[in-house]
Symmetry: C2
Subunit: 433 residues, 2 copies
């Protein structure tokens, strides 16, 4: 109980500045609980230039080992991002007996097992509320309250940038490219938006949630991941006509002892809660054995909320250190010994929206319907739009549930037909609440 | 650390049986964390008849003091409900140094201050996650994660029965009475539904949330509270036409250092998240200084979720007792010393939907518009329906923001006009997300 809990910070970017400011000023309500004294001891960054923040002299250093190996430091906050050198920094901090707070989803999704095992062995804690869902306390909810229920499924809108772009495309009827540029101008998308629009950011968060919910240690590269780049205003308009909205979903669910995990654009019912999650907001629907459906909704990012969440993890640890309560809580994060198997993508069994451009000739629909029948895919409905100025017309087919393998085969065969022109669009359908 | 944490249960009703079963069988995932041994030592109920649960012999007693005063018991779970004798039981348990877990919203809303002060004095804890929002971990969220942000407002759909009735009225175009009966038949409403439909249940939950969010110790009887009994299918249909849905809302918000608190049916925008909370589900929207808007959604009641939530509070306490961590966490629940003032109802400043039946004569609208103008209420839009078979027609007026006092005066004056027949309907409008 003697003295102050000492914090070291590695990485003084936007979030780092926010965290440093909170820890130095201690004026936020995050300090309202009785966590005992906490001090920011040291900050390491390879760039020592001014960040517009008043730091006590001597606190900032280029030498990262002055944080990671400093015996007086109890908690290391890692805000470097990316995999290396962040991985080495975190493992070094753990090795030196420090607790770690991080917002690094790339690192935890790729090397979670290694990091949590190292923490378990050394008896230190790793907290990472800011890694998923921004200000939404989903990590805490899954570790605590929802942890009392076996979890059946998680459906998340986990990326604010793509949700912003899809919302604007829906509201304005505008193209993906135009709305991506708008999002960039407004600061909702980065100059290089690939990690967001490709679904990779959602995938990293999904892998972390699947570990919490199912004890699964998934490798991101094994999980089906598709982005939103190919979604067109025409798809959004057909979705609306069919009673759906298009969202980038991250899905993990239990399926007969295995885990189905995937990230892709999906059509979800217009009238549901998830379809009404708009702009940069995130939402996570968790279905539990005891609780049924729960949804958590909030802002997915931003300097101030993220820094506050990081500091609240620091405060959580500080109050446990001061009170003498056990701090190491990583055991439930280790992959279950039996291992959890991923359902291969070919075995997915879903409804599909398929949109093609076809030449406007008699018999085209019959040919296409026969092809679906041959692949054992039954058709639920067809929208064939009236004759256009051009010589092709869009044809939309909604299928009943079919295996991914059959759909893939049907799509390959469709693309070779003479009556079909240009790329074929396929969007999976989810009957979400 | 030696031995098992001993639990005593008072009240063996539906939830009590669920809690006893979980504590005896310990097969639920609620026990998955390492909370150390927990045993159910004693159950008191004034009725010893069979409940369809196998209890170890001698565990059930009519003598409540055998639970409340038993030195070996660490945690008392109060599931008696209502105010007395529950209040005396809880205070007696606290006096004997026991931690308390309760789901009793009536008790905590009426006597929260007394109970939390007694607990603070005796150094014991009082947990009550099951009192608000059923399976939604809103109490924990407000105490922990959201506690890091100053809270601006809370908007809740806190009662499953009324939300079920309003949803069915909307979907089926049916009357309140018919849908209340349907809800009763399906077990979503009690035989005596007054506490639910009058808004009283929502009010009790709101008072608890206002304590957590604002440190306010509100008296339920001081808070404006209106039920859903007067909502008609016609109002629901006009709401839809105007782009709104009618929900029973419980609202608490900070307004220049005072608290505005109220429970009443409200029109909220159709396209928002809260308007899409359907059937028996609950949802709570919290707006925080740091985080912006967050929404928590889930089932509001049910034996299994409620019992699980109660047991998770028991487990929380047991693991703290075993680990030697401080248990008493009621300090932030005590009313702030400065006191928090309630904004008087007359000072509310809202938009209103007003529906009247008027005789279909020339000049009626002019008379009514003049009356609103004289009360300084400006009109946003008017819907006057075409001539009906009867000699009166409905007239709907949407106002701009106006003080409650002006609206009340206008409604009183309207009811005296010769051209107006029958009761006047008034529903407040909230521009919720």
């Amino acid at each position: 109980m003697a003295g102050s809990v000492q914090v070291g910070l590695v990485g003084l970017g936007t979030i780092g500045v926010g965290v440093a400011r909170l820890l130095l000023e201690k004026r936020s309500k995050v300090f309202a609980g009785d966590c005992g004294p906490v001090s920011l001891k040291r900050i390491a960054d390879k760039d020592l230039s001014d960040r517009g923040i008043d730091l006590p002299s001597g606190i900032l250093t280029e030498d990262v080992s002055a944080v990671l190996e400093e015996p007086e430091i109890d908690i290391v906050v890692e805000l470097v991002g990316g995999i290396e050198p962040a991985r080495t920094f975190v493992l070094t901090a753990i090795e030196h007996g420090k607790h770690v707070v991080t917002a690094n989803k790339a690192l935890l999704s790729a090397h979670g097992e290694e990091i949590f095992r190292a923490a378990q062995k050394r008896g230190v804690d790793v907290l990472f509320e800011a890694a998923v869902g921004g200000s939404i306390p989903i990590i805490r909810a899954l570790r605590e309250s929802l942890g009392t229920s076996a979890i059946r499924s998680i459906y998340g809108i986990l990326n604010g940038t793509t949700n912003y772009i899809l919302t604007r495309m829906t509201d304005d009827g505008a193209s993906y490219d135009a709305m991506l540029r708008a999002a960039q101008q407004l600061g909702f998308a980065e100059r290089n938006p690939v990690a967001d629009v490709s679904g990779k950011d959602s995938l990293q968060k999904l892998v972390i949630l699947a570990r919490l919910a199912f004890g699964a240690s998934l490798s991101p590269e094994d999980v089906l991941c598709e982005g939103i780049e190919r979604i067109t205003p025409m798809d959004i308009s057909f979705a609306q006509e069919l009673g759906y909205r298009i969202k980038l979903l991250a899905i993990a669910k239990e399926r007969e002892g295995r885990i189905e995990a995937r990230v892709h654009p999906a059509m979800i019912p217009l009238s549901g809660l998830m379809a009404n999650v708009k702009f940069e907001y995130n939402a996570i629907e968790v279905v539990g054995e005891e609780f049924g459906t729960q949804v958590f909704y909030g802002k997915g990012a931003g300097q101030r909320p993220t820094a506050t969440v990081v500091v609240s993890d620091v405060i959580d640890l500080a109050s446990r250190i001061h009170s003498g309560a056990p701090t190491c809580r990583v055991a439930p994060l280790l992959a279950s010994a039996s291992g959890v198997q991923l359902v291969p993508a070919e075995e997915l069994f879903l409804r599909h929206y398929v949109r093609l451009e076809v030449f406007d000739r008699a018999g085209v629909l019959a040919d296409i319907a026969r092809l679906f029948a041959e692949e054992n895919i039954s058709i639920e409905s067809v929208i064939q739009k009236g004759r256009a100025a051009s010589d092709t017309v869009p044809l939309v087919i909604m299928t009943h549930e079919a295996s991914e393998a059959s759909i893939e085969r049907a799509l390959r065969r469709l693309s070779t037909l003479n009556v079909v022109r240009g790329p074929i669009q396929r969007i999976r359908v989810e009957e979400l609440e």
